[in-house]
């Protein structure tokens, strides 16, 4: 099973992320958990979240990038679900061996992430925090799927990206089937 943790404050008003999410949703073994729809009061049901994670072999974090980081509710999810003794520290082995895929979108095109661009640093410079969150919990870090220029991207490119996303999830699901069978 694949757990897709989706964090978008305005899911209905999103363009890029909505297209990506719909593509992912078509993969049969995917369970989508939309954090802002489930927990609009920022009261995360930690027990339910953990149950979903335990049942899954792949955990996807999908959200638009804001201020070089995840939206606030995704951060709260990290803080309350991945706690010491469960995901980390002594006895915290719940996620060990699982895989983690980060799927994100940026408003700026990739040219923004160069020394001459608006963000000055290459995009890879903003990834370690997310990567280490997964690896610190003992998860296997898959190459992230990043869509730049989400504001301006044309439909063709967006759907191409979405298809790529879907194929990666399908491949993972198939691998799991093979491993099991």
């Amino acid at each position: 099973m694949i757990a897709l943790i989706y964090a978008h404050p305005h899911p209905a008003r999103s363009r890029a992320n909505r297209v990506l999410l719909e593509a992912a949703r078509r993969v049969p073994s995917v369970t989508v958990r939309s954090l802002y729809d489930s927990y609009p009061d920022f009261e995360i049901d930690v027990f339910a979240e953990r149950k979903l994670l335990l049942e899954s072999r792949l955990i996807v974090w999908q959200h638009p990038l804001m201020w070089y980081s995840a939206p606030a509710l995704q951060k709260l999810w990290f803080d309350t679900v991945l706690t010491d003794g469960w995901a980390t520290g002594e006895g915290g082995t719940a996620l060990v061996g699982k895989s983690c895929l980060w799927v994100t979108t940026t408003g700026a095109p990739s040219a923004g992430y160069t020394p001459e661009g608006v963000h000055k640093f290459p995009f890879a410079a903003f990834m370690p925090a997310m990567e280490m969150t997964a690896r610190y919990c003992g998860m296997h870090w898959l190459p992230p799927l990043v869509l730049h220029g989400a504001h301006q991207i044309d439909d063709h490119a967006l759907h191409h990206h979405a298809a790529q996303y879907r194929r990666r999830l399908q491949a993972f699901a198939a691998d799991t089937e093979v491993a099991r069978g």
């Binding site: 209905a12 008003r13 999103s14 890029a16 729809d37 489930s38 609009p40 804001m66 504001h151």
Partner: protein, 596 residues
């Protein structure tokens, strides 16, 4: 002077004049009453006579006091105290009694008279000690508990002492003990247990349902007087019976209601008792044999006080409070009067000694407040450099919930789930029954009564949750609490906007309208069903709440002016609509505040 109203006039006037003056000048209320008694008694202005019958009548104040003490003490705690009561109490009686008897032999009494008088003087005055401890908030402190254990044993021991004194005399006893006596005593105690345990609660429920308040008070008095008579009929101590009944009712829901109903009677009768003691001080003896009397009073206080201080460590009195313990219990008590009377009748004690000793006892009682003042002066000097740790271990709950209906229950359950003890007041007997079945500490009573609120521990509680559904009662309670217990934080339930404004106008800051939050929740759900994102629906509801609170707070200074209120409500509504419209337009233009 046989006119009862005239007598009442004199007693009340004397108390009203003397007690506040004594209290103001730091002498304590007990000394005030004693002075009042001396003033109006045979050695003062001679305004009332018949000291003995007054004393006898007023002893009922001691009975009521022990009933109230019993109410504060659950059976479980009494059983925990048994070692302190029997071990500590018998040690105190033996040690003080023996040394005092030796002293009396040295003063020329026969050994029989010395034993009877020595043991009688070893008994302390429950009335004075407990009243003083209450006044100083010591009842829950370790020294208070040890003192109370000793006093309780003395109350038990006084009965056989009075019964056995005649055997010391040449004439011997008149009987009355033996099998029939014992059977009667056991029967009476069983009667009290049955009344306290099984009959009282259903009866009180019925009476509470009738909602005639004074009948509840009448029943409370009837209960205590009935039990006292039952015990007296069997030759047992009335006070002890009342105490037992109190203990049996300590865990009942009517505890606070009984407490607040009985307390004023206890207060007045105990006051009368002290007045009677003041009147009974025989100044004839003082004039006739001042030196011997002085030796008796000082000797009694010094010998008994020293013995008490010596045995204090065995009674688990904290080291710094040994002399406080001694000062609290060094006086002789009301039982001594009875023992002397019996001893004289049995020709154990000569008549002149009876007069002398009675005067000494009364003077020792009067000296107690003075001893405590001396103790305070001595310790104050030490305390200036270092203050002892607070010994008060308060067993009252930090939260009082008035009204345990649908609203109060949710507040209470959340607090209880966090292990926070709560005291609940409610006036619906059916509701109380149900809640007690589920293990809640619920007490019957009208929370808008000051005495009941005080009995529930309002002076020590942190928080009062006003969850009453009646608007007038809720406001009355808030007024009362703010006037009498200004330190209490109030969390209030408002039935509607008008009620909210009335509460806010009284300075209450934590107010929730009972339907507001749940209505907003339903509004959010409605929006979500219609396709608005949940997080968006939340923001809309938040905006509504904020605007609504602004409107309420704008109304607050003018809410008694209807025209202005209407105008404010209208402009508030317009402002909200304007804000929401702007949000909606922004949404329709596809703005997602930069989110992609």
């Amino acid at each position: 002077m046989a006119d009862p109203l005239g007598n009442a006039l004199v007693y009340l006037a004397a108390a009203v004049v003397c007690v506040p003056i004594a209290k103001r000048s730091g002498l304590g209320s007990v000394l005030g009453y004693l002075l009042a008694g001396w003033l109006i008694g045979p050695w003062g202005l001679k305004l009332v006579g018949d000291v003995e019958s007054t004393l006898h009548f007023a002893e009922f104040g001691v009975v009521l006091m022990l009933f109230l003490i019993g109410l504060e003490l659950e059976l479980k705690r009494l059983i925990e105290m048994r070692r302190a009561v029997f071990g500590g109490g018998s040690l105190q009686m033996a040690a003080c009694g023996a040394v005092l008897a030796l002293g009396l032999i040295a003063l020329g009494l026969t050994w029989q008279a010395a034993i009877a008088a020595g043991l009688a003087l070893a008994l302390s005055s429950t009335a004075i000690a407990v009243q003083t401890m209450n006044e100083r908030n010591l009842m829950a402190a370790p020294v208070g508990r040890s003192s109370f254990a000793v006093l309780l044993f003395q109350d038990i021991a006084a009965i056989p002492l009075i019964a056995l004194v005649p055997f010391l005399g040449a004439a011997g006893g008149e009987g009355g003990t033996g099998w029939p006596g014992a059977a009667k005593a056991i029967g009476a105690i069983l009667g009290v247990v049955i009344i306290g345990r099984f009959l009282t609660r259903p009866l009180m429920r019925l009476i509470a349902k009738s909602e005639v308040r004074e009948i509840f008070t009448a029943f409370a008095l009837l209960l205590v007087i009935g039990i006292a008579q039952l015990m007296a009929g069997a030759g047992l101590s009335m006070a002890l019976g009342a105490f037992l009944a109190g203990v049996l009712l300590a865990s009942s829901e009517y505890r606070h209601a009984l407490e607040s109903d009985i307390a004023p009677f206890k207060g007045l009768l105990l006051g009368l008792f002290f007045i009677a003691v003041g009147m009974s001080i025989d100044f004839g003896q003082v004039i006739a044999r001042p030196a011997l009397l002085a030796v008796l009073v000082v000797g009694l206080l010094v010998v008994k006080g020293t013995m008490l201080a010596l045995i204090a460590p065995r009674l688990e009195v904290p080291p710094g409070e040994r002399w406080l313990f001694a000062a609290l219990l060094a006086q002789a008590g009301e039982f001594a009067f009875v023992v002397f009377g019996v001893a004289r009748a049995a020709q154990v004690l000569p008549r002149d000694w009876e007069g002398l000793l009675t005067a000494a006892v009364a003077l020792s009682m009067a000296a107690t407040p003075l001893l405590l003042i001396a103790f305070d002066r001595l310790t104050a000097r030490r305390a200036r450099t270092q203050r002892a740790a607070d010994a008060i271990d308060d067993d009252s709950a930090p939260v009082i919930i008035a009204g345990m209906g649908r609203y109060g229950q949710i507040v209470g359950r959340v607090l209880l789930a966090q292990g926070i003890p709560i005291t609940v007041l409610d006036h619906d007997p059916d509701q109380i029954d149900t809640l007690r079945k589920f293990g809640y500490q619920v007490f019957y009573g009208d929370a808008t009564r000051l005495d009941l609120l005080a009995a529930a521990g309002a002076a020590r509680a942190k928080l009062l949750v006003v969850a009453i559904d009646d608007v007038a009662d809720s406001l009355a309670l808030v007024d009362l609490a703010r006037a009498s217990f200004p330190k209490l934080t109030i969390v209030a339930r408002a039935r509607n906007v008008r009620h909210w404004l009335e509460l806010a106008d009284r300075g209450v800051t934590a107010i929730e309208r009972e339907t507001f939050e749940s209505s907003l929740k339903s509004a959010r759900t409605a929006l979500t069903v219609l396709g608005v994102e949940p997080y968006e629906a939340r923001s809309i509801a938040e905006a509504f709440r904020r605007q609504n609170m602004i409107t309420l707070n704008t109304m607050l200074p003018h809410f008694r002016d209807e025209a202005k209120t209407v105008a404010i409500v209208k402009s508030g509504r317009e402002e909200l609509e304007e804000n929401l419209r702007r949000d909606r337009e922004a949404r329709q233009q596809g703005s997602a505040d930069g989110w992609h």
